[in-house]
């Protein structure tokens, strides 16, 4: 056995310093990164004034929701945490190091954002507890994926019911972005699957409709669909007073169902033909074949693409500014518009970019865990601590 230290040296020689051109390139890149990183760190620690973030945290997180309704936001966040926790539980077993990490995260969030607000501290701990509890429950009890799906659906419905009385048009900030994404994604997945199977239907009218629908959504911009459903909604159904948020969600669902349908179609195409042949030779009817044989496998195969679609949904929520909703990005602009904070552009954008990046990465990691879980034949995770 060779010492690990020596192998690192050999690795460095191969990957960083192999040829003279390589050495020059490595030197250049190291210098550039060092210059950039040191500048950023210096700015972040000494120049930037982060009070804009802590002062405006309320606006960032819930927009213009009145403080009397905060408890609703906390409950909603609790439920969101349990949703994320339960889905993670499907993919990852919980280990002691996760607990330590979670605790450290709680401490960090408390110190940075909560200060000495006891209520907020209690609520934040409640949220983290709900996340941890649902994770542990799912990974230990290992319910079937269908039950978890049912739980997620139920929680989503509960979230909407709890938050609705506050006035759906008062939802804002990160809360709006998250809820919007979750609710839209639910309907997008459902309609996406329906569209994908409709596209393969032997029913000519249905097939043509699905094809035309999917193909037109490919060429039309999202912002156009969202804006137009917002404007045209009243033209078609004037008596029905529908909240802007709902119309926004409808716009997203109309657009992204087509995108999701294409992802599912990709999964379907990858399935071995033998599956269809075996099912047919068993005498199963078309509906049974689609529902029991093709759908589960297609979902498994298209999961990476679908998770990418959900990330796209989350990343395009800021588009709702065009119909007047105040999502996370808009609250950032609102904060910057106020005179006392107008010169904090970099701080606010750094905060927003960091938050979006963290959430995006979390989603990607959870998606990978879910993929892994579905790929296993079994649902029971054997690696418990």
């Amino acid at each position: 056995m060779r010492s690990p230290a020596l192998s690192i040296i050999f690795w460095a020689r191969r990957n960083l310093f192999a040829t003279p051109k390589d050495i020059a390139l490595t030197a250049l890149l190291v210098l550039l990164s060092f210059w950039a990183i040191s500048h950023v760190i210096y700015w972040a620690v000494f120049v930037a004034r982060w009070d804009v973030v802590s002062d405006s945290l309320r606006v960032f997180l819930v927009g213009t929701l009145p403080s009397t309704e905060f408890w609703r936001a906390w409950v909603a966040l609790l439920l969101v945490a349990s949703i994320v926790g339960s889905v993670s539980g499907l993919g990852f077993a919980i280990r002691p190091r996760h607990m330590v990490f979670g605790f450290l995260l709680l401490v960090f969030l408390t110190v940075t954002f909560v200060g000495n607000n006891l209520v907020a501290l209690a609520a934040l701990s409640g949220v983290m507890a709900s996340f941890a509890v649902s994770w542990v429950l799912v990974s230990r009890l290992a319910p079937s994926t269908a039950y978890v799906g049912l739980f997620v659906t139920g929680s989503l419905a509960l979230i909407v019911t709890i938050l609705a009385p506050a006035g759906m048009d008062r939802w804002g900030g990160l809360l709006l972005s998250l809820i919007f994404t979750l609710v839209s994604s639910f309907f997008i997945l459902v309609f996406g699957v329906i569209l994908a199977f409709g596209r393969r239907s032997s029913n000519l009218a249905l097939r043509l409709f699905c094809i035309m629908y999917i193909e037109s959504m490919r060429s039309l911009p999202l912002i156009l669909i969202v804006y137009w459903i917002w404007i045209a909604g009243p033209l078609f159904l004037p008596t029905w007073n529908v909240a802007t948020v709902t119309r926004g969600i409808a716009g997203f669902v109309v657009y992204f169902s087509a995108v999701a349908a294409e992802s599912v179609r990709g999964g379907l195409q990858g399935l071995p033909k033998g599956q269809l042949e075996a099912a047919r030779s068993l005498g199963l009817g078309e509906f049974d074949i689609n529902y029991h044989v093709l759908l589960p496998q297609a979902l498994r195969a298209s999961l990476p693409a679908l998770m990418g679609n959900i990330l796209d949904v989350f990343n395009f929520v800021p588009v709702v500014f065009v119909v007047g909703l105040a999502d996370f990005l808009r609250t950032g602009e609102m904060v910057l518009a106020s005179p006392s904070y107008s010169n904090r552009t970099y701080e606010v954008y750094a905060f927003m970019l960091a938050t979006y990046f963290v959430i995006g990465s979390v989603l990607t990691i959870v998606a990978r865990g879910l993929e892994h879980h579905l790929a296993k034949g079994s649902r029971r995770l054997s690696e418990l601590d």
Binding site: A18, A205, R218, F236, G283, V317, P318, G332, E333, Y356
Partner: protein, 391 residues
Amino acid sequence: MISRPPHLADSAKRSWRRHVIQLLVLGALAAVITLLIRALKYNLADQGIHFSFDYLFEVAGIPISEGRTLRMLHGWPVLSDYLPADLNSQALLTGLFNTISVSLLAIIAATVLGVSAGLGRFSSNWLLRKMCFGFVEAFRNTPLLVQLMFWYFGVLLQLPPINAAAHILGAITISVQGISAPGLEPLLPAGIGVTICLVAVLLWLLTNASRHVTSRSRRILLWLTVAFVVLALAPAVPLKIDYPVLGRFQELGGAKISPEMAGLLLAISINSAAYIAEIVRGAIDSLPIGQWEASASLGLTRSDTLRQVILPQAVKIVLPSLGNQYISLTKNTSLGIAVGFPELFNVTGTIANQTGRSLEGFLILMVTYLLLGTMISFAVNSANSKALRSG
């Protein structure tokens, strides 16, 4: 009598059932559409709005900060600057011009940057590999709109004012008013020459895509196109170089990119580049490693391996996804509304606010974007079939 297997005996009943369902679905769809149209007609009449496209020929009266529209000059359609006295249709054309110019520039920039970043993931230098990976992750996991806001508010609007502007190479000026450089001003009104060139190039592209045109006639057509273009621009030679001159408050003349356009360009080019880099990486990764090894054992250099062996195979895999990416990019130009760039969606919205014609506007937008998407798909598909044909 030999009894048929149960599922075959039902087949006759099944096809009958299928036809009935087909008719029902058709009927349901027709009913829904009719209901919607009737509701629409009723509500429009109720609110006193009539559906018509006449508004396109009324004077627009709205300001549009940049872009060119088509105007008739001596019987030729000519590209010229937009004026508020122009018609609504010309305002829309200005928006379209802006959309197309940003899309074209962004497609080129994103492809160059994206392919480089994708190839960089296969460099022999670990640092370069990781930095390309970081670039892709950073720009794919954050929202495009946030990136756009950042580039516009955080970078371009923070540039120095015009009298303290930065000068590069003595000719390019960068300031909060935008980026300007000496422009080429042909003596012919820009419209005629450009129109002729565009038509000629389009014809050449069309014939290139068709399989029925022989390569000899294709070559003849190419030379004809080149001759045409040269002749069209000839009266413009010598080209006058138009230097931007610093007036009292702003620069006059020269070629300029407004901060809005620059912001939009930067944001969607870099964002798309990240996606393209991932597509290129996926394509190269999917090639068996044996191709690399065989090339190496034959003594081919890394650049020869890439050029002769890897890239020709990767191009075939990459083209369809690249086409999708280009369509996404074109659609993303509609986000220009967030920074006030007068592209097609923005202009249509403004006109709709002025004239109340949102329904007609939407239809025009829908058709236009569908056409743009179809053209890009067509171009990419013909490139794809050409690549497949060359083996």
